[in-house]
């Protein structure tokens, strides 16, 4: 599904290198957790996968289903099946959430050569997905994320994810800013999307999220590289002992 080989990337404006020789393979259906201390490059990795222009890949390769995505813009990557759930979803005044969902769904369908959704079909899909996330339909009439609480924003991200049915979900610190009840709702939403042909990269600072979204593999990111990989027990290990030992081993 996803194969990252010797990836090097820097901030386009300043030239500061953030990702320094990162290797990562995520198989079909795999849920891979990426953990690491602050500043290790976790969020940068998520932005690079989504194609944000602020970062420049200087070396290495990202293959998605065997195809390089480096020359694709964010919209093309999304249409090919990559979805980034933002750590801080943006507020976009003037664009009603429902209208945005319609535009995004139909843009992706067009890009894949599928017919656009009719309004009643769209409404039905959205109503079902929103129901599973305990979201009020009235909220969807409001401008996208404007005035939403932290929990509502994260739910709106997962709603988009479930409607767009991506092949690769990248969740960037989806647990940040959530209380425990909201975290459960969001995790249930994510778990409902687990399937043998959908992979997930779950970026998180804390083990807590991984109690609810149980990963198949855990990778520790430090100074822009994966310095250790393991199964879910690695996350528990980190929770107990912190990053110091692993960083020490890798040095």
């Amino acid at each position: 599904m996803l194969e990252i080989r010797n990836l090097h990337a820097r901030i386009a404006e300043t030239g500061t290198e953030i990702i320094r020789g990162l290797d990562l393979t995520v198989k079909n259906g795999e849920v891979a957790a990426i953990m690491g201390p602050n500043g290790s490059g976790k969020s940068t990795l998520s932005y690079i996968l989504a194609g944000r222009e602020d970062y420049e890949v200087t070396e290495g390769e990202i293959l998605f289903d065997g195809q390089s995505i480096l020359d694709m813009d964010p919209a093309e990557r999304a249409a090919s099946g990559i979805f980034l759930a933002f750590q801080y979803p943006l507020e976009i005044p003037g664009v009603a959430t429902m209208e945005f969902l319609k535009v995004a769904l139909n843009a992706q369908r067009r890009a894949r050569g599928e017919p656009e959704l009719k309004i009643p079909d769209l409404l039905k899909k959205v109503r079902e997905a929103a129901g599973r996330l305990n979201m009020d339909m009235a909220m969807l009439k409001r401008p996208l994320n404007v005035g939403f609480s932290g929990g509502e924003k994260k739910r709106a991200e997962i709603l988009q994810m479930s409607l767009l049915e991506p092949k690769l979900c990248v969740l960037d610190e989806t647990d940040s800013g959530l209380d425990i009840d909201a975290l459960k709702v969001v995790a249930d939403g994510v778990n409902a999307l687990r399937s043998p042909d959908r992979s997930m990269v779950v970026i998180t600072h804390y083990q807590r999220l991984l109690d609810y979204i149980v990963p198949d593999t855990v990778h520790v990111l430090y100074q822009g590289r994966v310095i250790k990989s393991g199964d879910k027990s690695l996350a528990l290990d980190l929770e107990q002992n912190g990053y110091a030992d692993i960083i020490g081993e890798a040095a």
Binding site: A50, G51, F83, G94, F100, V103, A107, Q108
Partner: protein
């Protein structure tokens, strides 16, 4: 000895004076009106304003008004389909008011009749020395509509005033008297299909407690010059919401002069300027708060493409009697091209000490973070940009709280975006 030689007249200045000589005997009006026309043309003979005149600093009319087409009575203009369903349409076609349908509770009179009987003569006086649009209009005005909305009348359905040109010149006037407690939605259309010189002057008196929504939609073709002036005096507790949308024209100046003269009066201005090509569009507002407890808010949103230039001048004057005035003004511009420009000049003159007045102006490009977010959901760049630009102006339209009106204006937006963004 007088050393100030009159500078040589421009083609446009000469053409205006010649046009008056040629048109004079055909223009309707009694003696009082004729005197006003004479006074007005004397003002024009002094020359068009340059950027040295403060009110015209960003719109050098003398330089920008390059040609003045001759009046052409032969060309035909057709009325437009109404913006809103259920409207009563009052068209003025090439400077001639067509027919007067009945509207319950409203007296509708052709302006030509009021020129003939002289009852509009007084309103044709031009006191402000920097005013050019009023004298130009007073010199040449041929027709228009006078509306008198009775006390307490809630007008059934919108009234749409249309000024439609087909080339040449069109000079019209819309005096409107709104009785106490009356309610109405009035749409003013400025449109056509020729490279005309158009002037249009409205005068509203809004009675005590009356509520008026006025929609001014300017959609002239790329070759036309539109010089508009909207005047309103608000009575006690009167409420006026003025929505101005400019989507066309080569040279456009829309002046807005409002006096919140009655205690408790409320004025809201919402403006959308969609500027393209090498057009020049100027919206200039002078708002007087001359009574206590008056409230105003102005939000102007501009989208600039191509080599278009835009201007917003917003002057708020708070009289020393107008305590507890609450006035807020914002002018936000989205620049979509490196060659476009927008000048915003907010001005507050406050002579009362217990007031809340504020203003702000921004000029920005499309937010890259917003663009990334939309694209990360699969929306292609061009479509994502369109969505963000639309959102920027749609916010102002959505505040109108009238669903059919919002839908009609958004359709206008869509049409503009389809060809210009």
């Amino acid at each position: 000895m007088n050393m100030h030689a009159q500078p040589q007249r421009t083609h446009a200045e000469t053409a205006l004076i010649d046009a008056f000589v040629e048109r004079f005997s055909y223009l309707p009006g009694n003696e009082a009106v004729i005197r006003r026309r004479d006074d007005a043309v004397e003002r024009l003979k002094a020359g068009l304003p340059t950027r040295r005149v403060e009110a015209w600093h960003y719109t050098d009319l003398r330089r920008l008004l390059s040609t003045v087409p001759m009046h052409d009575p032969a060309v035909g203009a057709k009325p437009l389909p109404a913006l809103l369903q259920g409207s009563t349409v009052l068209p003025v076609l090439n400077g001639v008011a067509a027919h007067a349908p009945r509207i319950d509770g409203v007296t509708v009179t052709r302006l030509e009749q009021k020129l003939m009987d002289g009852s509009v003569a007084q309103a044709m006086a031009c006191d402000d020395a920097a005013d050019v649009i009023a004298p130009l209009n007073a010199a040449f005005v041929t027709d228009g509509w006078f509306l008198d909305i009775g006390e307490g009348v809630a007008v059934d359905g919108p009234i749409e005033l249309q000024n439609v040109q087909a080339g040449g010149q069109a000079h019209v006037r819309f005096p409107v008297r709104i009785g106490a407690g009356a309610k109405a939605t009035i749409v003013e259309r400025q449109s056509g299909n020729g490279d005309a010189l158009v002037s249009s002057v409205s005068h509203l008196t809004v009675g005590e407690g009356a509520e008026i929504v006025w929609i001014l939609l300017q959609e002239q073709p790329v070759g036309a010059t539109q010089l508009g002036q909207f005047n309103a005096v608000l009575g006690k507790d009167a409420k006026l919401t003025l929505f101005v949308m400019n989507t066309g024209g080569k040279l456009v100046r829309q002046e807005i002069k409002v006096d919140a003269a009655g205690e408790g009066a409320v004025f809201n201005l919402r403006g959308v300027n969609l500027l393209t090509g090498d057009s020049h569009t100027d919206v200039t507002m002078v708002l007087d708060h001359s009574a206590p407890n008056t409230t105003s808010s102005e939000i102007i949103r501009n989208v600039v493409t191509g080599r278009a230039r835009g201007v917003f001048q917003g002057q708020i004057r708070v009289d020393r009697l107008a305590q507890k005035t609450d006035a807020k003004m914002a002018c936000n511009t989205l620049l979509l091209s490196d060659d476009g420009e927008f000048s915003a000049k907010p001005e507050l003159e406050i002579f009362a000490d217990d007031v809340a007045c504020g203003h702000g102006a921004t000029v920005t490009e499309i937010d890259r973070n917003h663009l990334f977010y939309l694209m990360a959901r699969g929306v292609p760049e061009k479509e994502a940009r369109g969505l963000l630009v639309k959102a920027f102006v749609a916010e102002v339209i959505e505040g109108l709280e009238d669903e059919p009106l919002i839908a009609a204006l958004e359709a206008k937006l869509e049409a503009w975006f389809a060809t210009n963004v």
